[in-house]
């Protein structure tokens, strides 16, 4: 990334304090989420959802589960791709879970797997943006945008860790790549971007998709831990979206209520 020519208009001490506050808040939040993830795993184990063979039950528990599965499938992403595997992350890693017609992820775990893949997709996208910026492919990158990318990427990594802790606790493989069928299209779109605004627009799509997916999940997963985890992440993705919209010159809070029309479909998952 090119060295910023712009001078910091606030004092270094103010910035240091803000950064320290940020770090402290972050450190306070992460242990709580780890605890929630552990509780969620125990819940899944208690209810027998963890490691349940495919076919014994539907998407979730009982009739509600089937309904939720159908609803989630119907709630498809507008950016579906055509990749056959879609398991390559932007950073080049592949998912630790191998693609299979008989998914290891059923019930609530399918939602968790989808969430993990979406988080990894966001991390990969931001990493790709940083790489492109460093290579000078995006022109001059405003300092605030660089900070945004690094901070948002870190938070998405935290989200992925929380969801992977649930998968690990449930005895199924963690997801380190992006096993989504739209990943190839996402990578293609990222590769074609030549401006900061273009990256910001793509990031905005991913953030809105994530926030709305979590809203849908909060209303449709059956475990209390899953509900609370999804509920605690959705606002953060929405906050990312608000700042992105501000940077893009758009009104940052355009909607009275978060919708679900941009939520990702579980059918995107390729594992």
């Amino acid at each position: 990334m090119r060295a910023p020519k712009w001078q910091l208009p606030i004092s270094e001490s103010s910035l240091t304090k803000m950064t320290r506050d940020l770090d402290e808040a972050h450190r306070e939040a992460v242990p709580v989420m780890r605890a929630r993830a552990a509780e969620f795993s125990e819940e899944l184990a208690d209810t027998g959802i963890a490691q349940r063979p495919l076919g014994r039950r539907g998407f979730l528990v009982g009739g509600m589960g089937v309904g939720a599965a159908l609803a989630l499938a119907a709630c498809s992403s507008s950016s579906s791709g055509s990749a056959s595997s879609g398991s390559s992350a932007a950073a080049g890693t592949s998912g630790s879970a191998s693609a299979s017609s008989a998914s290891k992820y059923t019930g609530d775990l399918k939602v968790v797997a989808l969430a993990t893949a979406l988080e990894n997709q966001a991390v990969g996208a931001y990493q790709a943006a940083l790489t492109a910026a460093t290579a000078g492919k995006l022109g001059t990158v405003p300092p605030a945008v660089a900070t945004f990318v690094q901070t948002a990427m870190s938070q998405h990594q935290d989200h992925a860790k929380a969801w992977n802790a649930v998968l690990s606790g449930a005895g199924v493989p963690t997801i380190t790549g992006v096993p989504l069928s739209n990943q190839a299209a996402t990578l293609q779109a990222l590769g074609a971007v030549t401006t900061v605004g273009g990256v910001a627009n793509l990031a905005l799509e991913l953030e809105n998709q994530a926030a709305q997916t979590y809203l849908f999940a909060a209303g449709n997963v059956s475990s209390a831990g899953g509900i609370s985890t999804a509920a605690s992440i959705a606002p953060v993705e929405a906050m990312h979206a608000a700042i992105l919209q501000f940077v893009l010159g758009e009104y940052p809070v355009p909607d009275d209520f978060l919708g679900t029309s941009k939520a990702a479909s579980a059918s995107l998952l390729t594992v």
Partner: protein, 267 residues
């Protein structure tokens, strides 16, 4: 942003564009409220068929209506807690509307940064919509609507009023209220029994979080002497580095300061 920096035509255009997107969200909220009404009707009907039917309603039909995490707790009068949660949420919204309305009339807001004033107007309307949604759900559930303000935070506002001398003071107070609202609704997503109410609270919490996010950024810009950058569109190239991260300080939204469902309940 100096008031001269704002392109109000663009703001109007953007607001118009958002209406299409927002209509989808409003539709979802209405559907959630309708679903909630239906759920309440079925639960009440099951109760009217004796203890056995009631158990079936709460544990059998409940499997359809309620998340498993709350299914067992649903047997302990889920309706009353749901209604209290809605009433407390409405009380927080009512307070927010009151504070923003008052703020809009302050001389230093009216003659100050035009984007801040526009944000206050838009945010007031959004909180009004939230209050209406919560009260509509209360009505549909057979409860008493909440037209008053949250007592705990009304006291906080009252104590803060004498010290409000500038836009930064308003922003600081608004951040407190938006954070309480976001934390409370985030927590209620897990606490309410009806699935549709999980969606309702889940659809409002991120919007309050976005309000807070914007206010945190505005607060940082005001503190840094960059009021001219509080504009739509802003000059992204001139934004301080911290503006890219100050708006979202946590990886996960905390609920430690969430209000209990009883806080704003109508007695």
């Amino acid at each position: 942003m100096g008031g001269e920096g704002i392109d109000t035509r663009l703001l109007t255009e953007l607001t118009d564009q958002s209406q299409d997107l927002n209509s989808d969200a409003v539709r979802i909220t209405r559907e959630a409220l309708g679903e909630f009404t239906e759920q309440q009707r079925e639960v009440r009907a099951s109760r009217g068929r004796g203890p056995g039917a009631m158990a079936a309603g709460l544990l059998g039909v409940g499997a359809l209506l309620f998340g498993a995490g709350r299914a067992n707790a649903a047997s302990a009068s889920p309706d009353s807690n749901d209604i209290m949660a809605l009433q407390t949420a409405a009380s927080i919204e009512n307070l927010a509307v009151s504070v923003y309305t008052t703020a809009a009339g302050l001389s230093f807001i009216k003659s100050g940064n035009a984007t801040v004033a526009a944000f206050i107007t838009k945010t007031t309307a959004q909180h009004t919509a939230h209050a209406q949604a919560f009260n509509a759900a209360i009505t549909q559930a057979g409860g008493k609507t909440q037209t008053g303000a949250d007592p705990k935070y009304a006291a906080v506002v009252k104590a803060a009023l004498p010290s409000i001398k500038a836009a930064s003071d308003v922003v600081s107070l608004a951040i407190t209220l938006e954070d309480v609202a976001a934390q409370t609704y985030t927590k209620y997503v897990s606490e309410v029994s009806a699935t549709s109410l999980r969606t309702l609270f889940g659809s409002v919490a991120p919007v309050e979080a976005q309000h807070r996010s914007v206010l945190l950024a505005v607060q940082a810009l005001l503190a840094g002497g960059d009021a001219d950058l509080i504009a739509i569109p802003t000059n992204a190239a001139k934004l301080p580095s911290a503006a890219g991260s100050v708006g979202f300080p946590n990886s996960f939204y905390s609920t430690t300061s969430a209000s209990p469902t009883s806080e704003g309940a109508v007695s």
